[in-house]
Symmetry: C2
Subunit: 326 residues, 2 copies
DNA sequence: CTAGGTGCAAATAATTTGCAGAGGC
DNA sequence: GCCTCTGCAAATTATTTGCACCTAG
């Protein structure tokens, strides 16, 4: 919970005096969950202090937006609502027209497509809004679907970890198979080491996942928060499939490089896009690890090419193109 | 241009009297392009008739929304804008924060993802908003990028045709190859016929595309309006690739069935989602054609299985599973 | 003749602003 | 003491509504 005063003091980038009123309003805002309208906030404030005027609340909200504490969101109701911004990544919304609650989600997939559209239209996108209007499960079925929001902070971390774990798992599988298929002893050793490392790190991530579950035992009952198709099988799945179609040592290395590069790019980009949070942390750490693997593989690839060159000096590349589609 | 009175009379589903004022307002609205605010419309109306009150404009706008002539859109400016709805499919927006103009696009890909998210959260989605805020090319580079909107109506038809043509082309390729690979004479004939049909229809679609270009010679200079990844290679591309991995006659038929089914579903679904327009027409016609092909293939598949059963009566299925991944 | 459409002015609703006084540094 | 924050009331902006009047079917 980022509601402590200690946190708040760190939260004042732009000028502004410390003032009891402002402090009070910010505290009430941060202590609240969900999406408040200016009026909601006034009501809440009035409960503990009758003497705060509506204008001050509006002014403080504007200040919070400027300071990066709050984000102004528009659900098409003819007035704005405000949500926490601190530690929370930008996200999209599902908005129930019946109960007027809203639910958050992230979709790396949608973001990628949005970027593609902007690029195709040579449009410099700075922000995007995705809102799905409709009826939530509870309003349709009547029963309480126990979704109850649940700190998006934790959900983001949970899903980030799941993706990282799936990637490690598929990486492990990839390197194990690659090791089995590699003829060159030195190359085999590289793959074996990497497989081991992936497995080890996977263990660590799983432990971390366990810790997360301890913090909120119901965490796993919440639906997906971060949608990312690549996550399902892990980013190495495609590479593993290509391995099975038969490749030589050099090709195996190259496929590994491509997978690590894709993985590194995804985690780096996604990690950087977000404001400070545990999920961001996980993504960036993971990006670093993948970077190291990538460098290792690239070094190994160069070494292999050099050795091969020495082995058959005058013989030009015989390029046994293995006709494997495309 | 759907601005004629003839068109308008057809446009009054719900009750309402013919009234000169309303007629006048609707005409001015439909004669205009882009996204008008209520105030913009009042200004335009006042130019030809001083005696129309602001309230009537608001009331008429509401009536137009109910009648399906207009759609209310919210660009987060603190007021609503209105856009034509008649003949225009629901679309998403790119919104320039500098010049405040907005540009439209469709994305089947984003729609699919949005649907997936809603399903995963058991949310009954009824409508979705996708808005990309940023700076348009013109505002960034200064020069006129000649984009000038261009009837989205025509752009939709253009892109629908392009997708249909790409699909026909890939279908032709698929059936040609399938014919070449098929041993059974009767099966070969079926594939050959289909290849011919795809080619023929492709010609027709290309002619239609040509007609479209005549209506607006600059049509091709406009950027993509309808984003759909499947369009690039056509919906049969994947099937063709699988053919090349070696299959028997029965498998080839099955792959064809799967492609036609996917294609039919896509065109049907997309066609139905849209309001009356040329693009919709193209999609639905195409869906029908694919349906016919699908039925033909299914009949042929059943016939083949029957013939095979007769050939080796007591022999149980020998199921030569060709280990081709998954 | 009567339901619905229209104008005008007043009402709402969300948000902003002018100004005088209060408070932190 | 100065500069910013605050409260209050008035202003602004977008949109709606009450009510008397008008008009097409």
């Amino acid at each position: 919970m980022p509601t402590t005063l200690a946190d708040l003091t760190r939260l004042k980038p732009s000028g502004g005096k410390r003032s009891s009123k402002r402090e009070q309003i910010v505290n009430v805002f941060l202590g609240q969950e969900g999406h408040l309208s200016a009026d909601d906030l006034v009501d809440l404030i009035r409960r503990e202090d009758q003497r705060i005027s509506r204008a001050t609340v509006y002014r403080t909200l504007q200040w919070m937006v400027d300071a990066g504490i709050a984000r102004k969101v528009d659900f098409g109701e003819g007035r704005f609502r405000f949500e926490h911004s601190y530690r929370q990544p930008r996200h999209f919304h599902l908005i129930c027209k019946t109960c007027h609650r809203s639910f958050e989600f992230l979709s790396s997939d949608i973001e990628a497509l949005v970027e593609e559209v902007a690029t195709a239209r040579s449009f410099a996108a700075s922000q995007s809004v995705v809102q799905i209007y409709g009826t939530c499960e509870e309003c349709r079925t009547g029963r309480d679907s126990s979704s109850e929001a649940g700190q998006t902070d934790l959900l983001f971390a949970r899903d980030a970890l799941r993706i990282a774990i799936a990637t490690e798992r598929s990486g492990f599988e990839f390197y194990s198979r690659a090791a089995r298929l590699t003829k060159d002893a030195r190359g085999r050793k590289v793959f074996e080491d990497l497989a081991l490392e992936e497995q080890e790190h996977m263990g660590k991530l799983e432990a971390r996942y366990g810790e997360l579950l301890e913090r909120d035992p119901k965490l796993e009952s919440h639906p997906t928060f971060l949608f990312f198709k690549g996550a399902a099988n892990g980013l190495f799945a495609e590479g593993t499939e290509r391995l099975l179609q038969g490749v030589n040592d050099q090709q195996a290395l190259m496929i590994g490089i491509r997978c690590e590069r894709g993985s590194h790019r995804f985690f780096k980009k996604y990690g950087e896009r977000f404001e400070d949070s545990e999920g961001k942390q996980i993504f960036l750490e993971f990006a670093d690890e993948e970077r190291e693997h990538l460098d290792l593989l690239v070094r190994e690839y160069r070494a292999l090419v050099r050795r091969q060159g020495r082995a058959r000096r005058p013989a030009r590349r015989k390029a046994r193109t293995t006709r494997s589609a495309r």
